[in-house]
Amino acid sequence: MKFGGIVIVGVGGTGVLKASEMLSRFLLNQGFDVRQSEVHGMAQRGGSVITQLKYGEKVYSPLLGKGEAQYMIATEEVEALRYSEFLSFDATIIINSWRLNPVGTKPEPYTGLSARLYREKGILVYEVNADSIAKSLQNSRVANSVLIGAFSKIFNSDNENIWEDVIRETFPKKFFDINMKAFFKGRELVTI
């Protein structure tokens, strides 16, 4: 493997940046060189957002090319489809089972469309009900930690202490506990 690639996609304001920060810290901790690219400013006002993450023995460019991501984490199902060109055919996707329709149109519950389309292509898809879990924890902002929890299981990372450090470094102190809870809920959810 030249390098591993992960894209984290979603809607501005759903914790995409924090999720990729967590992943980057984790991968660095695993002894990888890491580069991660994100977009700030205009794109964050509820628009479509993507961050790209690369890890390996030595990584140069912070940008992924077409077909170079083995993992995608999507905080919303339509956004999962928007960035399909980055995925390799053996990719694994974690989708938050949540849908956000365009402003002004009728809200719809999660349709599972992206999961179905990806599965038709032979891609391994995990649908994670991160949004409801976050709401059950009384904080809709921790859905990203639920997704990262799911990822930790899929990525076969058994060292829970490392994740504890990662969460401590990423969030302000007062949000540590709730993000830890969210992380473990996500972790329990996935069976592989």
């Binding site: 890491v34 580069r35 400013g41 006002r45 460019s61 912070p62 077909g67 402003v103 992206s114 891609i123």
Partner: protein, 584 residues
Amino acid sequence: MKEQKNNSCLMLGNEAIARGAYEGGVQVGSGYPGTPSSEILEYLSQFKEVHSRWCPNEKVALEVAAGVAIAGGRALATMKHVGLNVAADPLMTISYTGVRGGLVIVVADDPGMHSSQNEQDSRNYAKFAKIPFFEPADGEEARIFTKEGFIISEKFDTPIMIRSTTRVSHSRSVVFPQERIHFSPFPYQKDAEKYVMIPAFARKRRVALEKRLEVLRDWVDESDLNRIEMRDPHFGIITGGVLYNHVREVFPQASILKIGIGYPLPFEMISDFVRKVKNVVVVEELDPFWETEIKAAGIPVEGRNRIPGIGEITPDILKVAFGVPQPVPSIDDLNQYVFPRPPVLCAGCPHRGVFRILSELKITVTGDIGCYTLGVMPPTSSIDSCICMGASISNAEGFKLTHPELTVGAVIGDSTFIHSGIGPLLDAVYNQTNIIVFILDNRVTAMTGGQNHPGTGITLMGEKTSKLDIEELVKALGVKEVHHLSSFDISHFRSLLKEVVKKNSGPTVFILSEPCQLIRKKGNKNFYQVDPNLCRLCKKCLQLGCPAIRLDGERAQIIAEYCRACGVCSQICQFNAIKEEYQS
């Protein structure tokens, strides 16, 4: 510079620049927020040994920094590319005077215009001002180059520019932080012939400036900030900045001359490289800046004939440019199921209702730089021009001078007004231009993430300070008619504005105040709901474009979870169908 590498950590490029400045013993950091540069000073302000400040605009920021450097301290000024246009005036002359303490100016370009109104190539400014610029490729280089910048600045008596781009500033990579070096300011020394640029003295400095460039030209050929990596003798690339990383990845075998000092160029090193390696291509983003310089020195290279000059250069674009097959198959036929998701004003944004009224009363609106530029988008579609910081007011004057029959208004945010809207408003008063100015006062610099400014009463270091009273300022400029009201009180706004339009005797100023959602404390859990028995399906509220208002069949519906209870929609509804739900 040789450093011991131990504790590695992950840093955003902008954080690494701040770290480098801190380590380099900087005393003062100044700037104005602008994507992708904003986080530099935010990170720097976490070091209590450094005085960091937001200034009203980039010109002020650079002048403060220049003052520090002339007086003998070390200073950092930060801005985005278009901010350097504002600061260009002091830049051109601080190049003449030189510095005593180190002066580093960080400029962050935005190829691809992720969050900017143009994609100018700021490298041209370094040549224009005859000062050196360094171009880091990643976080670790950003740290080292910034730190080194202070030393080189002092050594050659010149300001140093660090040119970053979005992909350097907003990428995280591994950085090896070091301790802060101890530096105390040089003792103050008056030197009028060097620092007072009257023509007689400036003429002497003009000559000194050319001499300095000569000395720098010799130095760059020896500096280890530029380097040659010899690999394939038949394929060479001259590149710098983030593109170095793309090149390393796409062409692992290529020989590379990596430019760290982008001006003046190390021509001896380049000739040497071109002699040793056949087929040398200059890989650079935006203008063919290096290619032109290199060709002018009589060295044959390729460049723009292969690499596009518009937008961002990605590894994939490089592959296409050089005919490298893309080996990994990808899935690219799924985005047909996707709808566009452009950025929108937040639910409860104080700008929304204002735009609704402006479009309802058919005002011709000139716009400015900020979240409120989104007012150009449907459904309000209410902005007709947007050029640069502060231009809304002066553009409106021009509109009115050309078409007196139009009712012309300018929208400008509080931070933008302070940045460069005061002069234009004074112009409208002085020349009695009949326009209406809407100051959208949301008490923060919102677009860039919510920074403080002179109107918020809090400094970058988090200290309480004097708070600008915009209303008093506007009156002091001589505006006779000033209306100050809540941005959410749009019924009142509508009737006032109708009167103002009828009176037709501007300049008139409206100050519409209400905090941005980033900082607004709601204090309750109330939200608004549509009463299905009263709703007559007119869909007028949908024309607000609030993310919380949705269409359910034919009926409007408010998603309680997203509603920020600003109450604007309830004033738009003519049938009183939208009401506040009180929650305990």
